[in-house]
């Protein structure tokens, strides 16, 4: 058997797995769109992390003498109806949007992947019960499910995160289940069972790493969708509550003034779009890089 030959790359480099990662990395580096997305995203994350340090003004302090001012040197993005500096509010608001996007998708992916691998691996009754539950959750479009949950729990950042998490679980469950079902048929799994691997080890070491690629892409794109959903929910009053800034809530507050002061909604919407765009660009790049069918 030439097993030895296959697992060692030329030059004695250990393991095929590493070369796979290296290939993905190389493909990502060559993808200008993905790199641009990563760059913008890193920048926005840094702004969010150091928000309070770099925001020129307080995000909640009102200044009734300078309301509705148009973009100027003192206020690069102008001020809102209470004289608050829009740029500072955008900077602080990025924390809420990113937190909702990242935390809810982290939660949804962990729960979804666990349930999905249970379904795919064990099948039978466990599978039926979990999947019927998912059918119920998927009977509503995700945004509407999130709105319904948040309407019941009451508005606020935490409830918004919870609602978006729950509404995103089913797609992860389905995707993981489908991958696991495919992998279960593979011969290396038979081999793992034959050498008496424990079930948890089989799932964690043999199945999940091989099912991960589509899930990573789904996760990246999911953060993008979650940010859009969060802004929609804040827009209709279910997300972050005033006076705390959030991009969607700022769009909602500026709604009454778009006739005379369109700058109040232009910038916050642009911020949402740039963030989501960079995530989608990164996601597209990851999908191409992880696609085994595309050979370079």
């Amino acid at each position: 058997m030439n097993l030895q030959k296959e697992t060692k790359a030329p030059g004695g480099q250990p393991a095929k797995r590493k070369s796979m990662n290296a290939m993905v990395l190389r493909r990502m580096k060559n993808n200008k769109m993905a790199m641009a997305g990563l760059f913008i995203l890193t920048f926005i994350m840094l702004v969010a992390i150091f928000g309070p340090l770099i925001a020129p003004y307080s995000a909640t302090k009102t200044d009734l003498l300078h309301t509705y001012s148009l973009p100027s040197l003192q206020h690069p993005f102008g001020t809102d109806e209470l004289g608050r500096d829009i740029m500072s509010r955008l900077i602080i608001g990025s924390r809420a949007s990113l937190a909702i996007g990242l935390i809810s998708m982290a939660g949804a992916s962990v729960i979804g992947i666990m349930l999905g691998s249970l379904c795919g691996y064990f099948g039978g009754k466990v599978d039926t019960v979990i999947m019927r539950f998912m059918d119920i959750f998927q009977a509503l479009p995700p945004l509407i499910l999130a709105i319904a949950i948040c309407a019941a729990l009451g508005p606020g950042l935490n409830n918004c995160i919870l609602a978006i998490t729950i509404s995103n679980i089913p797609s992860f469950v389905r995707m993981t289940r489908a991958s696991v079902l495919n992998i279960r048929r593979m011969e290396y799994l038979e081999a793992a069972t034959a050498i008496n691997c424990s079930t948890s080890r089989i799932i964690a070491k043999h199945i999940l790493p091989n099912a991960l690629s589509p899930l990573i892409v789904q996760l990246t794109m999911g953060v993008a969708t979650a940010i859009i959903s969060a802004s929609a929910m804040s827009f209709i009053g279910l997300g972050v509550q005033p006076p705390n800034p959030e991009w969607g809530a700022m769009l909602s507050a500026g709604r009454g003034y778009i006739r005379n002061y369109p700058h109040m909604v232009t910038f916050s919407g642009t911020m949402i779009m740039i963030t989501v765009l960079s995530l989608n660009m990164l996601g597209d790049g990851l999908r191409d890089a992880l696609d085994p069918k595309l050979k370079d």
Binding site: L140, P141, G269, V276, N280, K293
Partner: protein, 313 residues
């Protein structure tokens, strides 16, 4: 085939029951006493107790749930609003027309523009046509529907005065909302169509078709598109859900008195029967759309049809 559709319709029942149970229970166990909401802040505890009794709120949860289901099934009755005492069903039916019109028109835009855009991109892969289409699509899936609506309304209604900014009326009132809502659909459909076309173009039978000298137009529409259609239809179902959600939020932007504005008002006034009714109604509509998608699969793909007529006879 009929058997399949019948079975598929029967399958909707437990799902809808499940949704109703889910929504009913989260609305019931949510903090806040409906009787106190109806009577307002100054109500005496006795008055609240009395109203609770009258509304049947003191009955056990399950019996209230069964009453609710019974009301929906036998009388198509979703209860009455806590706030203004109006019948929730009438309100939903009156308002759903607006929502449905916007969602459906947007869906037609999404199919009518998105699929051709995706085909163009796939056929002209790595040319400027591909780049332009995919850039539009990428921006399209990255814009919140309601914000795009606001921007359209600033430019085309407030600055240029071409279309009305809000309200309802003739077809001109629907153009901006439908444009705003359909953008995400066009983008999603274009992306799915492109990637699924590219998947098929790699197949051997396309090479064969080329080799035997088939005309390019036939290769694209008969060989490639036909075989690429299943994921596109799946995406179309999901897209309808996204557009429906987008419409609900965009209604607030354009002051359309549809189901979305109804839900927003109800949520803000904690009018639980109204929220509950709207959500269940949307689930039913979405269920029907998903049913159509499943039926469409069998129309498109003879293999799926064969499977059902064999296994399900």
């Amino acid at each position: 085939m009929k058997k399949f559709i019948g079975k598929r319709i029967l399958m909707m029942i437990p799902v809808l029951l499940g949704v109703t149970f889910l929504i009913f229970s989260i609305m019931t166990f949510t903090p806040g006493d409906p009787a106190a909401i109806i009577l307002g802040a100054e109500a005496t505890p006795e008055a609240i107790q009395e109203l609770r009794e009258k509304m049947g709120l003191n009955l056990p949860f399950l019996s209230r749930f069964f009453d609710y289901i019974k009301g929906i099934v036998t009388r198509f009755d979703f209860g009455t609003s806590y706030i203004n005492g109006r019948n929730v069903k009438d309100e939903i039916l009156m308002r759903f027309g607006y929502t449905f019109r916007v969602a459906l028109l947007s869906m037609l835009f999404a199919l009518g523009f998105g699929i051709p855009l995706g085909i163009t991109a796939a056929v002209n892969r790595n040319t400027w046509k591909d780049t332009v289409s995919m850039t539009i699509a990428l921006i399209g899936i990255s814009m919140p529907t309601f914000w795009f609506g606001q921007m359209l309304s600033i430019v085309f209604a407030l600055k240029l005065g071409l279309f009305p900014a809000s309200g309802i009326g003739g077809i001109r009132f629907y153009i901006l909302p439908c444009l705003a809502v359909s953008m995400m659909g066009i983008a999603a459909m274009a992306r799915q169509t492109r990637s699924s076309m590219l998947e098929v173009i790699r197949s051997d039978y396309i090479t064969t078709a080329r080799a035997k000298g088939q005309e390019e137009r036939k290769i694209i529409y008969k060989h490639t598109l036909r075989n690429a259609l299943i994921p596109v239809v799946t995406q179309a179902g999901a897209t309808f859900g996204i557009l429906l959600g987008g419409t609900l939020v965009a209604e607030t932007v354009f002051s359309i008195p549809g189901l979305g504005s109804y839900m927003v008002t109800s949520i803000n006034s904690r009018d639980y029967p109204a929220i509950q009714g709207s959500v269940i109604f949307i689930a039913a509509v979405f269920g029907v759309v998903m049913l159509l998608v499943d039926i469409l699969y069998t129309v498109i793909d003879p293999r799926i049809r064969a499977e059902f007529s064999k296994g399900g006879k």
